[in-house]
Amino acid sequence: MCLGIPAKVIEVDESNQGKIDYMGTKVKTNFALVDNIKVGDWVIVHAGYAISKLDEAEAQETLDLIREYLEVSES
């Protein structure tokens, strides 16, 4: 129940309602709890509400941190 899913915003109107794409399924979502959401953003959705916007720079940093392991596997 507390599981929040990362999903892409595909629709958002001026009353903060819209839709996300979660693995190919369009789901009605309320964006009132997150500021400045636009189509293409990634959000964490919980119980029909977006609760956080994914920070791409921070996501990149985590990826950089773990990339070394992937490179070891590729070489």
Partner: protein, 364 residues
């Protein structure tokens, strides 16, 4: 972030963790506060691997379905069995929690009344709008992650003066039971894996007291196996340095200050109150209730429900101890015998975040 599931990444991180534990006195007891972390640890087989390197993961109180005491479930059951024209809505897991009487799933509703599972509190609100002749109650259970969403439905109902909608609140806050846990001397937690999505709302600062006052290290973690291992690596690094802090290993989702919009909304509509938890008992300021101006939307107030603390406990279920990391689910005499996922005896075997279900489902 598929990379966080990648086998090489997991193995690499586990290698580092193994090196770290080699320098520490073992075992180390680390509590995963959140039930979703419990599930992930079992699903990816990390629980056992970690135990082999000397890290004993303890289950925590972070399953809202589990910590809601039965007397609140019984109040919900009473509403829909004793009143006509009621629609009791709630999340799916909640309907299967057994009580002394029935569960919401097995009860026989009063004529023209029903129980309806919803995925979002907005569905309950829509139902109230569509069916003005029905009393729609949302049995709203949740931590800081879920409370703002539920509060928003009450705000909308108040703005529309929608009189047939109310919320039966079971609102839980994460930091107060952690204080209770570390203050008690029978649980020896040496590190905390903090919940990812609760922290998306409250930020990282509300945990600082655990590091500062109690000297226990911790890290906020996401839910991929790589996320969990990154957080454990950070906790172990703190142990190696003899330090205690709250680090954020889920920075793509969690900001230090949390979600200001959600926090402001909660402060405006709700106030803290002493609350009774299953197994943990009464904890000061550990729950939230609606402020007086919203009380007409609180089902306890609206229907004058009597909820007597601790009255609904089921004899024999050890869920309360499981929720404090004092007992591993298989140590409960009913585990796997009387209590199984298709015939649960207690809530920890019902919920998708329940520790007993996690242990049962992924037992090897």
């Amino acid at each position: 972030m598929e990379e966080l599931k990648h086998k090489k990444v997991i193995q690499g991180l586990l290698g580092q963790i193994r090196d770290q534990t080699a320098t520490l006195s073992l075992p180390k007891k680390i509590m995963e506060v959140c039930g979703t972390h419990t599930m992930a640890l079992h699903r990816y087989g990390l629980k056992k691997i970690l135990l082999d390197v000397g890290i004993d993961m303890l289950t925590g109180p972070g399953c809202p379905v589990c910590i809601t005491p039965n007397e609140i479930h019984e109040a919900a059951i009473e509403l829909v069995t004793e009143n006509r024209n009621f629609i009791l809505t709630t999340f799916g897991d909640m309907t299967r929690v057994p009580t002394r009487a029935d569960s919401l799933q097995t009860l026989v509703p009063a004529p023209d009344s029903q129980v309806k599972i919803v995925y979002s509190p907005t569905e309950a609100l829509d139902l109230a709008r569509q069916k003005p002749h029905k009393e729609v109650v949302f049995f709203g259970v949740g931590f800081e992650t879920t409370i703002p969403a539920i509060a928003l439905t009450v705000k909308a109902a108040a703005a529309e003066n929608l009189q047939n909608f109310s919320v039966l609140p079971a609102f839980w806050l994460v930091p107060p039971p952690l204080r209770a846990l570390v203050s008690a001397d029978d649980v020896k937690v040496q590190g905390f894996l903090y919940p990812g999505h609760v922290s998306a709302i409250i930020g990282t600062e509300p945990y600082n007291f655990i590091a500062e006052e109690f000297g226990i290290p911790g890290a906020v973690a996401g839910f991929e196996p790589g996320d969990i291992l990154l957080a454990l690596r950070s906790i172990l690094a703190q142990m190696q340095r003899g330090e205690a802090a709250v680090t954020n290993e889920y920075s793509r989702v969690v900001r230090k200050e949390g979600n200001r919009t959600a926090l402001t909304l909660m402060e405006a509509m709700l106030e803290p109150k002493d609350t009774y938890w299953r197994g943990l008992g009464r904890i000061p300021q550990s729950g939230l209730q609606f402020k007086p101006e919203y009380r007409e939307y609180d089902a306890v107030n609206k229907y004058a429900l009597e909820i007597q603390e601790g009255s609904g406990d089921l004899p024999g279920c050890r869920c309360g101890e499981v929720l404090q990391g004092k007992l591993a689910p298989p140590e409960c005499p009913l585990f796997g015998e009387t209590c199984k996922p298709d015939s649960p005896y207690g809530p920890c075997m019902v919920s998708y975040e329940g520790a007993c279900l996690a242990f049962y489902k992924y037992r090897r």
